[in-house]
Symmetry: C2
Subunit: 337 residues, 2 copies
Amino acid sequence: MTSLPPPVGRSLDVVCIGMAIVDVLTHTDDAFLDHHAMVKGAMDLIDTERALRIYDAMPPAIEISGGSAANTAVGVASFGRRAAFIGKVADDDLGAVFAHDIRAAGVAYATDAVTGAAAAAGTARCLILVTPDAQRTMNTHLGVAASLQASDVDADLIASASVLYIEGYLWDDPGAIGVIRTAIDTARAAGTRVAFSLSDGFCVDRHRQEFLRLVAADVDILFANEVEICSLYETSEFASAAAQVSDHVAIACLTRSEQGSVVVAGGERIVVPAVPAELVDTTGAGDLYAAGFLSGWSSGLSIEDAARMGSLAAGEVISHLGARPQSPLSDLWRVHR
Amino acid sequence: MTSLPPPVGRSLDVVCIGMAIVDVLTHTDDAFLDHHAMVKGAMDLIDTERALRIYDAMPPAIEISGGSAANTAVGVASFGRRAAFIGKVADDDLGAVFAHDIRAAGVAYATDAVTGAAAAAGTARCLILVTPDAQRTMNTHLGVAASLQASDVDADLIASASVLYIEGYLWDDPGAIGVIRTAIDTARAAGTRVAFSLSDGFCVDRHRQEFLRLVAADVDILFANEVEICSLYETSEFASAAAQVSDHVAIACLTRSEQGSVVVAGGERIVVPAVPAELVDTTGAGDLYAAGFLSGWSSGLSIEDAARMGSLAAGEVISHLGARPQSPLSDLWRVHR
């Protein structure tokens, strides 16, 4: 049992805020990563010039909606829970693709698209290189995704949800930090729990002090993989990082790839195995783990069952190309619970 | 042996002209097709309003470059042969996606994108619904693809190729017919062989008289499936259609899905089996058969071996989602020849 129950009587389970991104996904080899000086498995922010240079060199690709917190929202909806998403697209082809896909997945999405001259920056795209080991290396051109405005954040929506889920990547948009601060304050005042994902090891490097303050002061449920949590506390010892985070948040979900996850909550450490899967593309594994955990936790399941839902969702999404589930996760859970 | 050898000393193997289209591909059930009054397996031309209505109702999708003759060009390049493509996109996100993907696949592509006010019609997209039986049902919004201009057709390029390959769908762009006529005349004057695909049964219905004249007067190599060739000659008897077409063209490649293909050439009928494949999505099967056949024929192989290359390429493309090969066909052919 957790010491942090979900709030009762909410009309929405999870509202996610993040970068609205279309993934441009292809297979390459390690030599391609080396040639373009990429760090395998990481997410790099790139400018327009580098985006064009990498894209020109990339093999034929597929376009498929992504974005970390957006993937989580889709996962929550796929479990049959009620999800909403807040994030910026431009009124271009890829913006229409993003909006269509997230709504068609059952997620409420009402953020206004950027129009006019400001839309020229374009809907964000992430050039994702999947290597033969199924690892994904991400190069994100943020475009208009880094232009979240105070007016985009619906206070009533946040107050109506059990959880506000925020991705760390948002701190890469300096203009958004104040907006996110307001969203967090709204959540806390309304009793909406605050969940936060550290997103990426390099992202933690870029924003460590802000993340440490945020985790200690405002976060109820933290999601991080081993690299990210160790980066946050600047330690190479997972056990040390896990011990430190337990003082800061009510629930910390620490994912460890094929070793499953460790959930630190209320003084307990709950270890849940990964769900075996044929590994095709790791894109979205962390996002979908969070979706499963929050779906379970917000419906009042035990921490262990919520973590098992996380493992199940992560296992589904790594078994195919793309970062969103291809089968209804509610059906999978019915079979595997 | 065929009575129609490829021309010698060409710097290009196949130049393809067709609609430049990005496929918007998703899985649905038969009820979705019924609800939207679609004919399973067919290609329907739709206006903007119907495109929006269908897209709004569609599940999340992936975007992946397509277009019938464009897929054929990519297949030819995948066999290691030299291919070029001529077709119109707009200077929008999907146009950039199309141009990137076909060039990254090794196909020469230099058609100018439509810019300015005329670009508002957008790059063509085809809403493809894949049903559980792996059949694809296509709804094409042509946008700027139906605006091929005389200036887009490079006479030197056509004269440098062994084969000019034309898709029947082009006749759905009334403005393009004169342009295509010029391209065919250029080919014939230069000794470039003219290959033609009937594209779709309903397309044959729309343009039967023009197609009959074209096949009799100008086509050297014809590609058609059973439905299309029977529609052309308005018969329900495949044998009758095959007999009639043999009087009109030097080589007729008639594909019959899992029954393989029948090539009628120089008074002979060569029957080549299909390559067994796990059927996932039939999109592109005919396009890739043509790619394989033309790759083989243009390199001087026998009709039978060329048809076997066609079967191999079709087998590869139906084993995954999307209409372009995911593995180099030259490698597959090395193993399976």
